[in-house]
Structure formats: C-alpha cells, structure tokens
Symmetry: C2
C-alpha cells in the first residue's frame, strides 16, 4: 500500500509541475498568486514546485518593486528562455526559415530567406535548412540544450513519420521529409513535422488571437490556403493528420483549375494568386506584389479595393459554410487573410449574414491572427516542447535538481 500511495503522490507531483510549466510557457511571467489561481494548487505547493524548477535552472523569481498598494507584492516567476530551446524550421511557398525558440515559447533567433516559388527537390530544401540552422545556432551561446526540432511545411503531412503526402506548391508527392531531415541533422533529438496551417492554429490558440478558446477554426492563406481546427482546446488532425485542408473545399464548379488537380477549390478564389489577378498584378509575383496591392488599397486605389472586395466575398462565402459545419466560437484569419482583414471586415460580416445559418452565426466571431508570419514557427516550437510541458520532471532529472532520482 505504501508503495502505491507513494507512486500516486509522485504522479500528482509530476502533473502539478506540468501545470505550472504549461502556464508559464503560455503566459510567462506570472506572479505566484496568478499561478495559484490558474493551477488551483495551494500557495505552499506552488512555492515548493517553483523551488524545484528554480534549482533546475528552468525558472527565476524576482520580487517586483511595491506598487503603492498595501501588502508585499507576489514574486514574479518567469521561465529562463535559454534553459531549454527548440530548433524550428519552416518550408513556405516562397521562403525558408530557421529559428531558435526558448522555453517561454518565444523566438530567440530567427533567419528567413526568400526562395523562388516553384518546384524544388527535397534534397535541396533539406540542404538549405541545414545551412540556415547552422547560421541561426551559431548566433546562440554555446551549449544550448535542444529539446527537439519542429518543422512547418506547406503540405499535407502524415504526422507519425513526417511523410509529405502532397505539397503541390513544392511539387512534392509522398516525400519522406521527416526521414531526410533526421538523416541530414544526424540528431538524437526528436523531429516533428506538421502542416504550417495546423501549426499556426496551435500557436494562435496557445499564445495568440485564440488564446484560451475551445473551438477554433484557423484559416491560413498565402499562395495556398490551409486550416487548423481546435476542438476542446486540442488540435483536430483527422484519421492520419490530413484534416483541415479547407483550401480544397470545392466552392465553384465553374472555377479555375487548382494545383491539387481539382477545379474551383476555395484556394483558387481566395489565395494570393486570385487577389493579384483581380488587382491586375502578375499572379506569380510573390510577397512583393501582394504588398503592393495592399499598399494601393490603403491609398484608396479603386482597382485594388475592388480586388479585395471580390476576394473578401469569396472568403465570406467559404467561411459561412465552415461555420455551418463546425459551429466554432472563433474563426482566426492568418497570413495574407489576416492582412486583408482590415479591408474586408464589413464584407465578411455581410457574407456570414447571407450564407451562414443564424444559430452558429450568432455565436462565432471572426478575428485576424495576432502572431503574424511567425505563427507556424511558433507552432512548431509548441510541438517540440510538448513532451517537456507534459512531464517536466523527466527533464528536471537531467539537471542538478532536488528531484528524488530513485523515483525516476
């Protein structure tokens, strides 16, 4: 019996450590009082566990200067971002990125380079990523403890092994990206590959526009359009991780051919190419041309405004259907869709009014993402840190800690 009780209390301790590190990871810094409220743990439990985390070098405490209110201010607990880090990589349609994310979930170093949109071999991409990673790691102090590598890619990904089943914008079919990365990085830390829209959604829910929301549909649009669905606070991936391809909802049987082989997919009406076409810009022009259209619209140019309006109508048409199907609390628009939002806000509301059922429409709000272009990288960091957030005690043991090694 004693053993059983002992095991149970060790389990409880690990869960409590996890609760504290999760809260800090999402909202760092927090006062001890805020930790009490958010975790439901007693003040003395918080004190003891924060002490363990401090001894392991994961957190620091500072006592803020008194604010003129009575009583001692509660010490502020914050994660040491450098104590454990994640390497994160992104393969976008027209750029590659490498970054180091700290334990507090924020980017410590970032390098992003443009690449010409178009087909490319996985060997070239992986080679470039290794180079970028070398550069970004070199900017960091020696001896970074890397917990894992998170990778965001603009494609349909099988989560279990990082196989990219399809990435039309890269010209990939069944490309074993996870395997190739593991070989190239020769690393003993785990590599997690996922779709960039799914990761953007995860980041927005953990630390962006959808923080704390339970049912969220995240729609990420640049050249391609993807989506991530959060149900009860957790990412919904479907049977094999392919769910969320909202860009390939058929919305227009009389529409244009889509890179995916179908016709009239939503992406053909709301992606960057559609906006550029309607604005009279070269459709393969990339980020610079899109920036130009938005600048023209901001200056009041009728053609650009008309292009945004027409694109906004299509965005609203599709969102209405997704609201009918998912009944979400929040729709978050990321990437180019988020940048278009200020121009099309009214059109989206009209579109919902016309095309969504009243009941789910009354509940839902549409908001732009707040993490901008970094959302997929931040989401990749979330993937890499997940094992540590779930059970920080496993990592405490590696450091110089108060943890009883015998219970390991």
């Amino acid at each position: 019996m004693v053993v059983e009780i002992g095991q149970r209390s060790e389990t409880v301790r690990r869960a409590n450590l996890s609760a504290i590190v999760r809260e800090l990871h999402a909202r760092d810094p927090l006062s001890r009082s805020e930790l009490v409220v958010r975790t439901g743990l007693t003040r003395s439990a918080i004190r003891g566990l924060v002490g363990e985390l401090t001894a392991a070098g994961f957190v620091s405490e500072v006592r803020p200067a008194p604010l003129g209110t009575p009583g001692r201010p509660s010490p502020l607990v914050s994660l040491n971002p450098d104590s454990v880090v994640a390497l994160v990589l992104e393969i976008a349609v027209d750029s590659l990125s490498a970054a180091v994310v700290g334990l507090n979930g924020r980017i410590l170093e970032l390098i992003r380079v443009d690449r010409p949109a178009g087909h490319v071999s996985v060997e070239d991409i992986v080679g470039d990523l290794v180079e970028l990673a070398t550069v970004v790691r070199a900017r960091r102090p020696a001896g970074d403890r890397e917990i894992g590598i998170g990778v965001a890619v603009v494609g349909v990904v099988r989560r279990i092994d990082g196989l990219v089943s399809m990435a039309p914008n890269l010209g990939w079919r069944d490309v074993p990206l996870g395997e190739q990365l593991a070989r190239a990085f020769g690393s003993d830390v785990p590599i997690y590959v996922a779709n960039e829209a799914d990761l953007g959604a995860l980041a927005e829910v953990r630390r962006g526009a959808a923080r704390g929301a339970d049912h969220v549909l995240f729609i990420w649009g640049e050249v391609g359009v993807g989506g991530g669905l959060i149900i009860d606070g957790r990412p919904f991936t479907g049977v094999a991780g392919y769910a969320g391809e909202v860009g390939h909802l058929p919305v227009n049987p009389a529409g244009a051919a889509c890179r995916c082989g179908s016709v009239g997919c939503w992406e053909t009406e709301i992606g960057a190419g559609a906006l550029l076409r309607r604005a009279g810009h070269p459709t393969g022009g990339g980020r610079a041309e899109v920036d130009a259209v938005l600048a023209e619209a901001a200056a009041g140019a009728p053609v650009a405004l008309g292009a945004l309006e027409e694109t906004g109508r299509w965005i609203g048409f599709g969102i209405a259907g997704l609201v009918n199907v998912f009944n979400p609390r929040l729709v978050v628009l990321g990437g180019l869709l988020g940048r278009m939002y200020p121009f099309i806000r009214g059109i989206l509301e009209t579109g919902l009014e016309r095309h969504a059922l009243p009941a789910p429409r009354r509940i839902v709000r549409i908001v732009p993402a707040t993490l901008g272009v970094d959302a997929p990288l931040l989401g990749a960091g979330e993937l890499a840190f997940e094992p540590l957030l779930a059970d920080p005690a496993r990592w405490l043991r590696r450091g110089d800690t108060l943890t009883d090694r015998a219970t390991a």
Copy 2:
C-alpha cells in the same frame, strides 16, 4: 485510507458494469467469453457482475446447445429488452414517428404517420406526438420502466435545452421544442432533443454501417441534407450543438436559392427536390415521387438514370471537400443518399478521384447506411440510454440487487 481504497474499488466496479452493459447494448447477445475479450475483465469478474445484472432483471443467460466442438460452450448473455425502455420520437419533413426502444437498443414498437410537408406550428406537432406516444405505449405491457424520451428533429438544435434554432422545412425559428415537450408529456424523465442527422450518425456508429469506426462522417439526405461527425468514437457537436450542417456548405455561387436564405447550398443540388427536378417529377412530390424515380432508374429509364448521375456528381463534389477537411475513415450515406448509392457508386468514386486530395482519399471509404429510415429513432434511443450505459449501478439500485445501498 481504507475508505479511500473502498471508494476506489466501488468506482472500478461501476465502470466495469458500464463496460459490460455498453457491450451488450451494442452487440447483444454476447457469450461470457466474448465479454472477457471485449471488456478486458477477468472471467470471474464477468461472472460476478453479470450475476448482479441478472439479479436486477437486466440480463438473462442461456447456455447454448453444444456445437460439436470440445469443451462446454460459454453461456450467452443477453439484455432483457423490456427491463428498461426509452420512448423515442421523430419529427421528419414529411412524417412523424413514435417508438419504444428496448435496453438492447432495438425498436420494440413503432408507429409512423405521413404528414404533409410544409410549415406547421410546434403546438400541432407536439399534440400529434403526444397522441402517437399514447398509441405506441398502449401496445406495450403495462408498467414499462421508461428511462427517458429521445427526440429527433429535422432542424438545428441547441442540445442543452432542445431549442430548435432553425428548421426551414417546418418553418421554425427559435422554437422551444424541448420546453413544450416537457410540458406536454408532464413527465419526470429527461427529454433529449437533437438533430436527426446527428442521431442517425450516432446510431450508425453504435450499431450500423460505421460500428467501431473512430472517425466517421455521416451524411443524411432526404428533402434536407444534414450531417453528423464522429471523432474518436464520440459525436462532435461544435460549441453549441449546431455543427454538422453539411447541407449548407455553399458549393455553387450560380446555384438556386436555399430555404436557409443562402444561395447554392449543397442541399439545393443533392436533396430530394434536386433529384425530382432533374428527373422531371414534381419537386414537392414527397416520398412517393422519389420512390418512382428510383423505380424508373432500376428499370433502366434514361431520364431517371441521368438525374441520378447528375445528382451523384454533385454528391461526389461535396464529399470530396468534406474528405479534405475532415480526413475521415468512413463516409456513411443515409436516407435518400443511401438509397441512391447503388446507382451512383461509380460516379462517387470518380468524383473523389477528381476532387479529393490523394492522401485522405486513399484512406476513406464511402458506404451506405444500414439502419435505413429508423436510424434517427435508434439514435434518439442511444441518447436516452446514455446515462444508464455510463453508470448502470444507479439503476441497479432501484431494483432488487446485490448492490450495497450504503455506497449509493
């Protein structure tokens, strides 16, 4: 400590009773050996718990005659369907039904009457349902123990109180159906109201075409089209129970006006009205006209076959999008869609080939529902029995059982 351990073992016992009753409810009858395999409980635990259920009158055991194989055949355990029953009701576009469902999840008595499609007051509907319920209850032995009332309705339902936010086919907006039923039935048992497609999905997963599948999209089509999504074996309802309205995915901006107020919803291309129109039958003709079209097609009439083909193309177009978004393992077609399935099987496969992404397409299968027109009623029974399935011990206590009343 002893108390705590005692409580724990009572919790375990209740969970084990639940596992046994759930298995029997879904697959009755089962041998004791099958129960061992399905629940993971020991043979002696099964013997004890089945004994309790037998004493309470919930189950019976019979020892089947030897089959010529060595060893004693394992006793067959089966639920006594009459031990507890549910009253279930359905408000469809052109019919009303009342039925009594037994503890084994099967229909014991059923009455279904046609009603003219069109707008109707909730008072009239509730009045008719009370009458039907009286008739169907009168066919049962006196003293039925009714555990609850489950109601399937062709509308968008707020689960928490049975408010029908919208039912265009009935002409309803924000109709407090749950409240009105509670008043009319004056009953002390709980009333559960849900959308008929959601309930059809639940029934198909528990005891039909999707039995045991984890990620299932159920699409139910008659005059209107709805859907139910099962994720990890559980119904997905969205924030407020409105999810799954796949009939109102916009698929054709150049399409017809929809009853919901939008334009080009999927329902306008694949509902009974669209099939009848294409086949040259009166679109308001109801079930008889639909039967006629299917009979003509079965006899090889080109117009009817053409109408099915065109409708099948639209069905495939929409399913492809839903497969891209949900990455389900199984798509189950119910109602008229299931009846059309034999005629459009090839067209659906072609549609998926053209419009769905290869990765989710390789995983998914499309199958017709197996429970037919009774699926929503059976699903309503599932709702009503859920509290009993989750914790049968609470109902055992009401009977003459071995349960320790002190732990109640």
